[in-house]
Amino acid sequence: MKRTSTGRSATRDQAVPTLEPDVSSIDADSFYLNGPDIADTKAPSGPIEERWEKRRFSAKLVNPANRRKLSIIVVGTGLAGASAAATLGEAGYQVHSFCYQDSPRRAHSIAAQGGINAAKNYRNDGDSIYRLFYDTVKGGDFRARESNVYRLAEVSVEIIDQCVAQGVPFAREYGGLLDNRSFGGVQVSRTFYARGQTGQQLLIGAYQALERQIAAGTVIMDTRHEMLELIVVDGRARGVVIRDMVTGRIETHLADAVVLATGGYGNVFFLSTNAMGCNVTATWRAHRKGAYFANPCFTQIHPTCIPVSGEYQSKLTLMSESLRNDGRIWVPRSGEDKRDPRQIPEADRDYYLERLYPSFGNLVPRDIASRAAKNVCDEGRGVGPGGLGVYLDFADAIGRLGRGAVAARYGNLFDMYTQITGENPYQTPMRIYPAVHYTMGGLWVDYDLQSNLPGLYVLGEANFSDHGANRLGASALMQGLADGYFVLPNTINDYLAAGPFPAVDPDHPAVLEAVDAVQTRIAKLLSIRGTRTVDSFHRELGRVMWDYCGMERTEEGLRKAITRIRELRQEFWADVNVLGSDRELNQALERAGRVADFFELGELMCIDALVRRESCGGHFRAESQTEDGEALRDDERFTHVSAWEFAGDGAKPILHKEPLVYEFIELKQRSYK
């Protein structure tokens, strides 16, 4: 299999790629198989503003007295998971929640800085539910389902109400009303914020609601517990296999439904803005049990992060996008120029965004800014250690506004930068570089947020819906809370109304098989005792993904990546070194399991990127661009969701397309000239 694909690639290399590539033979059968189209069957038809109400009415209800007989497992306690568990507990269901950290409040939602969007139109500037819906669909480059996005905009209004009621300390005006600000490239002021820590405050609100339900006895919480397998019985998701990370005990937990709210998979790149523990294991295990994984190649790269300072770097830190409002981005004109930036005169500087995009300048969208930064660094003109960085210079702003004004706007960000790099942005230009930040792809879900696998629900960043090929700023927080507070609690009842389902015997073959699979895998990882650490494999995988499946993707690069990932995965299983035992806290063992799943995901991401021969949102194929170097969509062939089905180890994945129909918004090409 490897030989064939390498051979074919060698043949392809002789044909120079043009803007009109030959599609007849490239991806026909080498990496995947075509399966039947799929569709969402739950969204009602008719006027879009009535669909959610219609669905809530048509969904079967569960009598309050019957709810305590129904059990629901929720994995993950971020915005989506905590809000869902709390709300379902309040409704009277029996909920069992799990998280890998030591407390539900550690979930990575906590790190979000900017704000949360809602269509309140408090600023009286023309905002509305419809406009938020429109902006989100367009921002997603027309690769999201209209019904889901409209609903997101619709419930956004209720989210703010709920958060305020919980005591989230949003910023206020002097009159006591909520303050708003505008955000990245949008023309209305619809973002609610709590200084630079909106994610933290929203999460704490949901966490407190969750703790109240734990005290009330409706939610059982197990911290330091990691889900390692999904249990499927008679075609329904019925439970999970969990590892107690302190004792190493493997536990089986069964329920009437399973909810995954386990976040994104940016850590496949090793370096990202994700937390150290963020991983794809829960959703990947579900995928291997039959849940489709949609659009895995849709990853978002954020242009302003603090650059890598050395080989030992463990993660990347985000600097808020708002910095680009006043900073000017530049690199030296010549790659040979290694002078201190303060010594480089204007004539020797290349303000490349201002040069390439005269009308948007430094405020071009994230994907454009990121690619431009990568290009100048690839040309050898990058700055800082390793040459992977560009300058974000505030000298002009300080000269124009005064240091006090700049400090008032960006003080805390400047302090954070100084803390991490030891440099002073008031005196010397900041160094920034793009970094992986968010993943729009995830498990496929219908309008009810249910997977194609009955009984499995997926919320927040873990699912694929709503953001299409590119997520707008301040909308991730909105989606997590929409899914958890308002959507799931009104759709899961439709499924549970047929329950409680027949009790699953702890000795059921599906249960035993799942437990056995987990134990075998752990035993194997601990037995190899090879020569390389888990992190060394993770770093190498991350580099392959970043180089070939990052900001710019090519046919040749993706094929190379797939080959290399397969080799690396085999090397991992032959040569990884995990010390200690499984009956104790063993962080290397935890990481090993997650990295093992990242290999499989990485391969699927590259296949997905290879098959989607167009550029849209964060997915940029060099072969599909306009004469100006902008992303070129191919709406005729790719206006669909790519939902992948796992067909077995070593077998080609099966592609199911969900055609996207735009009834309300006209498809347009994005342009920034």
Binding site: Q166, R172, Q201, I204, L318, Q419
Partner: protein, 266 residues
Amino acid sequence: MNITVRVWRQPNARAQGEMVAYPLRGVSEDMSFLEMLDVLNERLTTRGDDPVAFDSDCREGICGMCGLVINGVPHGPQQTTTCQLHMRSFKDGDVIDVEPWRAEPFPVIKDLVVDRSAFDRIIQAGGYISAPTGTAPDAHAMLVPKHRADKAFDAATCIGCGACVAACPNGSAMLFTAAKVTHLGLLPQGQPERFSRVLGMVAQHDDEGFGGCTNIGECTAVCPKNIPLETISRLNRDLLRALTHGGSHWPKAAPIREELEEEEPE
């Protein structure tokens, strides 16, 4: 730079534990403290020794998961979280002591990893506003004066790391408890439960085994979020008022304390 780290090693909760010295060469000053420990762990693993277990997650100073006592100071020489401490705060030849949070309510699990679930239980005892999903009025139905919103925010920034406990000679978690009492007690939404909250949370705090507060102030000096000591004054005032003017509702998680129950009004 070349340094020596002396690390607390304790294989499990029941084991004795001891400080073990590890020389480490070639440390870059741009490394974060935790990245330095990662490097130590890679080298230990390569030579077949058990790596050091320590907690971390976001590594950007906001989740509260990391927490090490470095040279006797929780979070080390800078007033930030451990993950934001960088090796440029140290110099060539330094010997650095690394220990877990030490407090009876924070039992050690392994090496530098401790159990802080006591904090979650204090929140369960009243650190919330009861607002079931769907019951909320319009966000603008309640005005919140800006200065109260700002003060509430300052208290709400607590990340629940536990440095306050680790620094306190009494092992008190008053700063953590007071931060939440202050945050919710300053907002109009928090008024209905203001008394039951402080009574429940303080009772839970005491039952967990945290010590009493004698206004020493070591806590705020190491707090990475600069939670002010004033929050403890507010908690004391609310507590006094609750005890003398009534606090009739006890949240389920808080064990009832007989002496306080007697003072409840009709």
